[in-house]
């Protein structure tokens, strides 16, 4: 019977070794550099775990045959393939994370200054720009890359800097890219403080960055805060029906927060539920990254275009803010346009820092939260548009 005992050493390949290095890098970034540790630590560990040979964590059965890796359309037959299947493929996890995000979000700054909603929309240009570039590259190199219109859309969504939305869209449009897209989205979100400042500096003058914005935003009433998620859900979902799962949950979570009578539910959504879902999301995305799925030229394209999408979104946000200043009496500081890249609250934090550097009187944090939150809505809506056309 000992002859049946098998260690994993024989199953090691160069691919699994490369994946250990990638998993190790993600753990290093999360633990030592504190970059998005809540996601990169579970993802990094999952990557290492799933690439240990014969562990069978992601086993899937297709027509009676057992496959070691997750197969889209198959029957999950092991612990992590079940979590991945029922959590991600069935879309439960990203959608309910949006419930938690809604319960954590204060729409006050958006309601007080609805103009900032436009900036959140402006930053979605990066999504479409990366989409078209991906499409071009994909059609130019059909032998190397399998990137069609759906894959291009899934890659473009990274530019919105919104993890759950990117994962949700990838699952619908290009499921085999989900690992690369999730990792790209979350690492670039963590890198927002490095990516954004040079772009902002390039596009604005010292004088523009020093534009002073009054701190006191209008006081927002409780009634407005309760009505906002309801009205926003109805309008956005009527306009873009396929955004219903994400926007619906987001606004519902926010209603729980603002209603004043469901604090227990809001707290659970924002804390306990969110943490449970984050563990399941991180670990299952990591476990999806087996060598055969991840070490592909398409993954490189995801990383290259992802950062380009972030940069373009930042640039368009800033340029749109400058454009709006041409028509308005009360000038806005164009830096806040960069906060339209949703990455809550990193982008707002970048804006705050740069504004203060240019003018010590400036305190743009609250002003930046408007476009920041509008960016979340914008990306979920952009994903809904893609799903409506391609899904």
């Amino acid at each position: 019977m000992f002859s049946m005992f098998e260690t994993g050493f024989a199953g090691l390949t160069w691919g699994s070794v490369v994946m250990f290095a990638i998993g190790g890098l993600l753990l290093y970034l999360g633990i030592a550099k504190k970059m998005e540790p809540l996601l990169l630590v579970p993802i990094g560990f999952g990557v290492i775990l799933v690439n240990l040979p014969f562990g069978g964590l992601m086993e899937t059965i297709v027509q009676g045959r057992v496959y070691e890796a997750y197969v889209v359309g198959g029957e999950p037959a092991a612990i992590m393939s079940r979590v991945f299947h029922y959590g991600l493929t069935w879309e439960v996890i990203p959608v309910f994370i949006f419930l938690g995000l809604g319960a954590m979000t204060d729409f006050g700054p958006v309601i007080a200054n609805p103009k900032t909603l436009i900036l959140g929309a402006g930053a979605q240009f990066g999504v479409y720009f990366a989409f078209f570039v991906a499409l071009l590259i994909g059609s130019a190199l059909p032998d190397v890359l399998q990137v069609g219109i759906k894959e291009a859309a899934a890659i473009g969504i990274i530019g919105g800097a919104d993890g759950p939305t990117a994962i949700y869209a990838a699952n619908r449009l290009a499921p085999y890219l989900i690992g690369a897209i999730a990792v790209a989205a979350y690492t670039y979100m963590a890198m927002v403080p490095i990516i954004q400042p040079p772009i902002i500096k390039l596009l604005t003058s010292e004088k523009e960055r020093a534009i002073y914005m009054k701190p006191q935003l209008r006081e927002v009433s409780k009634t407005e805060k309760i009505l906002f998620p309801l009205v926003a859900a109805i309008i956005i979902i009527l306009l873009v029906p396929k955004s219903a799962p994400l926007i619906g949950m987001f606004m519902f979570g926010n209603l729980l927060r603002e209603s004043g009578v469901t604090d227990r539910l809001a707290n659970t959504a924002a804390n306990a539920l969110m943490n449970v879902l984050t563990i399941l999301l991180g670990l299952s995305v990591g476990c999806f990254m087996s060598a055969e799925y991840f070490l592909k030229p398409e993954s490189l394209l995801v990383f290259a275009l992802g950062i380009m999408a972030f940069a373009t979104s930042t640039a368009f946000g800033v340029l749109l803010a400058k454009f709006m200043n041409l028509f308005s009496k009360e000038k806005i500081n164009p830096i806040i346009g960069a906060a339209g890249v949703s990455a809550v609250p990193m982008a707002a934090r970048v804006v705050q820092k740069m504004g203060q550097q240019a003018n010590p009187r400036n305190f743009l944090l609250m002003h930046a939260m408007g476009p920041n939150i509008a960016g979340v809505i914008g990306t979920a809506t952009a994903a809904g548009i893609f799903l409506g056309m391609l899904g």
């Binding site: 701190p215 006191q216 609250p345 705050q352 203060q356 010590p360 944090l365 939260m369």
Partner: protein, 73 residues
């Protein structure tokens, strides 16, 4: 002598206070650090001058518009 009232631009909780009455600050020096929206934000001096009327302690919660200090210059 000119005076500038410095007020909190946002509500939050004071983490630390960097100056005391009688200190001389330069424009852009940190006056205190305010925790707000889960971030620690330094509040900077809008002008250089003499710090007066400062009465803040770490842990204190403040609202928008509350006085931080009056800087004389």
């Amino acid at each position: 002598m000119a005076q500038e009232k410095v007020e909190f631009p946002i509500a939050g909780r004071i983490v630390s206070v960097a100056v005391k009455g009688g200190d001389v600050v330069e424009e852009g020096d940190a006056l205190c650090v305010l925790e707000s929206m889960k971030m620690e934000n330094p509040i900077l001096a809008p002008v250089g001058g003499l710090v007066t009327n400062i009465n803040l302690a770490p842990g204190q919660t403040v609202v928008t518009g509350e006085l931080i200090t009056i800087i004389e210059y």
